[in-house]
């Protein structure tokens, strides 16, 4: 184990090697002053614990209560979310897809795992899986059923393939009998899964 190779194409590190090398690289970058002390802690901590899909949920809830905002959101997602003070939408090409009684949208990235982080936090593990990436395009209804969502035959399923310049987020249907709820309460109902399109929102 004294021979240390790196950047081997396709070479898989063991978990132990990966742990060591990540620490080693971080220490080298800190020493060189390229990385600020504590910067990694801050970033890793924020994305791991605090982001979640809550920013996206806020956007959805706002669209539910404000039809004019919803129209702007569907017309130009990137611009509309900036109205809410949300920045960092990569490339600004955010397309929001509205689920209706007739159409159910689902998002995938067949190339890798492009994902609107700024809105939805980090992607769930299955989103990155080869099984999901390859199969949802071919047999979306079956994959959705396996993930626990039965989409009636009468509803058309549209699968959207993300790319480095196009990110998608699903605007789920507002659940019935939620008229009494405020925007913040509505946001709590919106799950990450619903904004990817593999679940609906329920109360």
């Amino acid at each position: 184990m004294s021979e240390v190779e790196h950047v081997q194409p396709g070479h898989l590190l063991s978990e132990r090697e990966a742990t060591l090398r990540t620490r080693a690289l971080e220490s080298l970058l800190l020493e060189k002053g390229v990385l600020a002390d504590g910067a990694v802690d801050a970033v890793a901590g924020i994305y791991e614990n605090d982001v979640g899909p809550l920013i996206g949920a806020r956007v959805i809830a706002h669209a539910w209560v404000d039809p004019a905002f919803k129209a702007r959101l569907l017309a130009d997602g990137g611009r509309a979310v900036k109205e809410l003070g949300i920045t960092g939408i990569e490339g600004d090409h955010l397309v929001v897809l509205e689920n209706t009684r007739d159409v159910h949208n689902v998002v995938v990235c067949t190339l890798c795992s492009c994902y609107p982080w700024a809105l939805l936090g980090l992607p769930p593990r299955w989103y990155k899986s080869y099984a999901y990436r390859s199969r949802v395009v071919i047999e979306p209804r079956t994959v959705l059923r396996e993930l626990g969502l039965d989409v009636p035959e009468s509803v058309e399923i549209r699968v959207w393939d993300s790319s480095s310049d196009m990110r998608y987020m699903v605007l789920p249907e507002r659940p019935a009998r939620t008229e009494a709820l405020g925007e913040a309460e509505l946001a709590e109902l919106v799950t990450r899964e619903a904004m990817i399109g593999i679940a609906t929102v329920s109360t």
Partner: protein
């Protein structure tokens, strides 16, 4: 995403009130994955590279070694990070190799001959 944009995102995250974490499942399968994630994002924030440059390498890496599942995603992530830092001459091959060997030696010294098998040692992973 530019460094400034990421900073904006992070500022926004910190400012948002403590909404319940009902979807807050763990998305990293090992601590090193979140470190690798943090390093890549931090370097972008520092302006070492543009986020798109990192992302296109990552896409290439994943395409070149089509994984069976998502298990190795952060391996691709780490390889892309190494590649980019070498390309930009932020670090040299010699420095990296030396530092890896140094960390490897530290662990060898500390653990003696305990680890014939590859495993994640949680105690060293933070």
């Amino acid at each position: 995403m530019s460094g400034r944009a990421i900073e904006g995102v992070i500022a926004d995250m910190a400012g948002s009130s403590a909404l319940p974490r009902r979807n807050g499942e763990l998305v990293f399968s090992a601590p090193w994955e979140s470190r690798a994630f943090g390093v890549a994002v931090s370097l972008c924030q520092e302006g070492v590279y543009e986020w798109d440059d990192f992302r296109s390498l990552l896409i290439d890496e994943i395409a070149a070694h089509e994984p069976e599942d998502g298990e190795h995603y952060y391996q691709r992530w780490f390889a892309s990070l190494e590649r980019l830092l070498l390309d930009r001459e932020v670090v040299t091959e010699a420095e990296l190799t030396a530092r890896y060997a140094e960390f490897e030696a530290d662990v060898e010294a500390e653990h003696g001959h305990e680890h014939e098998h590859d495993h994640t040692d949680e105690r060293r992973s933070t």
